[in-house]
């Protein structure tokens, strides 16, 4: 082939490749002049959290044309998967939905991306007394959406209870007494999303083990080595699951009910009580059920130690925080903090409260509107009266947490004993 032809060919290749590179460059330069805040948001287009996020970002960008909140929004497991993948790939967002505990904070901690916001939080705007310290030296790694997140709530349908001539249970035995009445009416006493392993730990066992031990910090102390997961307290707590099944309070088929079906069961009045966290309040879309719902702590359990009556398990609520990488650039940091203040405005916080997404705000001088939906008032009342205990997966993670959650599913479906599960968890805890 002649040199001329080779040259023409090379030129052709260049002509084909260069424009595509140039186009890519042009795409990146499309945000020229703007401060881009790479963000990982939480929600999806079908839930209130996601819809509100999109609306807030759009209105913020309209008011601040020099800032681009370049977000990726994911929900549930997809969010957790993507966080790990992005951090491992070095694609660290500047701002992200995050927590500070074992479930929501570990990936950020391991990647060294937790950033202490303390000196950047305006004490006249945020009520710093309502934001708990998240590490040894009082660091604040994220601005929580609200005050502590109650995970072990019993949602009680008072309308159904009244119809069946039942009243709020004071003891577990009161719930057992409801079984024949509920069955006669063709409904269940309790619905739980037992097909999701985490629900057993977060929404049920966290309350049970604290009550059985009488120690609100039993879980964190067990993880630290002060107690053992195969102690009698844990075995008794796990045995309580068997008792619930034997008594008919909990059905074996619970292990086949997922999160959506659980909420649907309660919305459709197929159960007197639903076990879940406070965040589900916003998901009770049947207005009759929502208005008739009372949010209560578990009644007194058999074998419960005195001192924690009416307690609920609660963890620091997740929220949004800057990463170390985002905070390293003052322009990005300031833009992100400006956005966060907008995101946590009184109006948006009130909306979040109305939507049932938070228990109570963390803003200074926040006036709680008097016309809140009844279920939101229920939530605030529960938070005010119930003592708090540890949430298991805020402290226990990895294989040990997985073994505990699946172990509880096996106990309920008759495949394992409490002793076997307790021993397996203890063998997997890394201290």
């Amino acid at each position: 082939m002649k040199k001329g032809k080779v040259f023409v060919l090379a030129l052709l290749v260049m002509v084909m490749i260069v424009p595509s590179l140039w186009a890519q460059g042009a795409q990146e330069a499309g945000t020229d002049g703007k401060v881009v805040v790479k963000t990982m948001a939480y929600g999806d287009n079908s839930n209130q959290e996601g819809v509100n996020w999109v609306r807030i970002v759009n209105s913020f960008e309209k008011e601040n044309p020099d800032i681009d909140i370049d977000y990726e929004m994911l929900y549930d497991e997809a969010y957790h998967q993507k966080v790990v993948a992005r951090l491992a790939a070095g694609d660290v967002p500047d701002l992200a939905y995050m927590g500070a505990d074992a479930r929501w904070g570990l990936p950020w901690k391991e990647a060294g991306q937790q950033f202490d916001h303390t000196e950047f939080l305006d004490p006249d705007y945020y009520d710093l007394n309502l934001i708990p310290p998240m590490d040894m030296n009082g660091e604040i790694y994220e601005i929580p959406l609200g005050t502590s997140n109650i995970t072990t709530v019993l949602f009680m349908n008072t309308r159904l209870m009244d119809e069946l001539g039942l009243s709020a249970p004071e003891t577990y035995e009161d719930m057992v007494a409801m079984v024949p009445v509920a069955r006669k009416a063709g409904i269940e006493v309790l619905t739980i999303d037992g097909a999701d392993g985490w629900a057993w730990g977060s929404c049920l066992m966290s309350a049970v083990v604290a009550r059985m031990s009488g120690d609100p910090q039993w879980v964190s102390k067990a993880v630290a080595g002060e107690y053992s997961f195969d102690d009698k307290v844990m075995i008794d707590s796990l045995s309580f699951l068997n008792r619930m099944v034997d008594d008919g309070v909990l059905l074996e088929k619970s292990v086949l009910v997922d999160y959506g079906a659980n909420v649907s069961n309660y919305n459709n009045e197929k159960a007197l009580f639903m076990v879940q966290g406070q965040w589900v309040a916003g998901g009770i879309e049947n207005p009759e059920v929502a208005n008739a719902t009372k949010m209560i702590a578990w009644p007194t359990l058999p074998g419960e130690k005195p001192g924690l009556e009416g307690s609920v398990a609660a963890a620091i609520q997740v929220g949004y925080g800057l990463t170390k990488q985002g905070a390293s650039d003052p322009e990005v940091r300031d833009a992100a903090l400006k956005f966060l203040r907008y995101f946590f405005s009184h109006a948006e916080t009130t909306q979040r409260l109305r939507d049932g997404a938070i228990v109570a705000p963390i803003l200074k001088d926040f006036e709680v509107p008097s016309d809140l939906p009844s279920i939101v008032k229920e939530k605030v009342a529960l938070a005010q009266r119930a003592p708090n205990t540890d949430v298991i997966d805020a402290f226990l993670s990895g294989d040990a947490n997985e073994a505990l959650n699946t172990g509880m599913q096996k106990i309920v479906s008759g495949q394992s004993t409490p002793e076997e599960v307790a021993m397996q968890v203890e063998s997997l805890v890394q201290r």
Binding site: V6, A89, K253, S254, Q415
Partner: protein
């Protein structure tokens, strides 16, 4: 090398270079990186420090009962693919090719339809079928006249792969049917006519004429099925719920994902995940090698 070839070399390199570069960066580099990673304790979130740990990740993996459980499930998926999807796809294609049913195009579209749906959507649909008081449980309740009866196969490690096998067959059989149908349509009709004239029955035509002619297609389909089965993640992940069901139905890619991305207590989890993914590749190569060997032995 001839002078003419030497002169053509620059052109050759210019034409090959883009594809080669893409291949090296997108395919070869990750494979090499994964192999290297599996012999270290490297964790990208730990500041780039790493040590050579030899075969530690592999020995840990072989001692892990979850690995053997996942491998067993994976081999079940391979078996369902090779001995379920392919024969059923072949038979359906033959029925359509020989016009043994009316409305050929309707059935063809019907069987192929799942291919148009997102795997995640399919997984969620099947999950709904299997849930408490879901459609399958309702049927069981009606048949058994027990209102408490439930479809419980998803709860047990020994039975979870049965419903999943049904889902796998439903999803992928259409693809193999289409492959076989396309190849059947290339067969010269005169061969079948000649066999008929010679007095061959329908089953003899199928076994003695059609199957030998499509031996190559069967082999290619088997390779596709094996490779697809071993890397299959999305359907099983979405058909199961987090916890007991997913652990019961764990296949190697899910085991790899959970080990590498969820078990924070293992600081070497990324290297461990790399070791698992390398083993998936090795097993794939072995199975594909076996299928090629079988293919050669049965070559007509």
């Amino acid at each position: 090398m001839k002078k003419r070839d030497i002169q053509a070399l620059p052109t050759y390199l210019i034409l090959v270079a883009p594809a080669l570069l893409i291949y090296l960066f997108v395919v070869a580099y990750p494979i090499g990186y994964s192999v290297w990673l599996s012999f270290t304790d490297f964790n990208p979130n730990k500041g780039g420090q790493w040590d050579w740990v030899g075969t530690l990740q592999y020995s840990t993996m072989f001692k892990d009962p979850n690995f053997w459980h996942a491998l067993k499930n994976n081999l079940i998926v391979v078996a369902v693919s090779v001995f379920g999807q392919i024969p059923i796809g072949f038979i359906l294609a033959y029925i359509l090719y020989r016009k043994k049913v009316k409305a050929v195009h309707f059935f063809q579209t019907f069987v192929f339809l799942p291919q148009f749906l997102s795997t995640i959507v399919i997984g969620i649909l099947w999950k709904r079928l299997f849930q408490a008081d879901g459609p399958i449980s309702r049927i069981i309740q009606i048949v058994s006249k027990d209102p408490q009866a439930q479809f419980e196969l998803m709860l047990y490690a020994d039975t979870v792969m049965i419903p999943i096998a049904f889902a796998l067959i439903w999803v992928y059989t259409g693809m193999y049917m289409t492959i076989f149908l396309a190849n059947l349509q290339k067969i010269d009709d005169h061969l079948i006519e000649a066999a008929k004239i010679d007095g061959a029955t329908e089953s003899q035509i199928f076994l003695k004429v059609i199957v030998p002619l499509l031996a190559g297609t069967i082999l290619v389909s088997s390779i596709l099925a094996i490779a697809g089965s071993l890397r299959g993640f999305d359907l099983i992940f979405s058909i199961t719920t987090q916890g007991l069901q997913r652990n019961n139905a764990m296949v190697l890619p899910i085991f790899m994902y959970q080990s590498a991305f969820q078990n924070y207590t293992n600081e070497m989890r990324f290297a461990y995940g790399a070791a698992i993914s390398n083993i998936i590749v090795v097993i794939s190569l072995i199975l594909i090698g076996i299928s090629r060997l079988v293919g050669k032995k049965t070559d007509y």
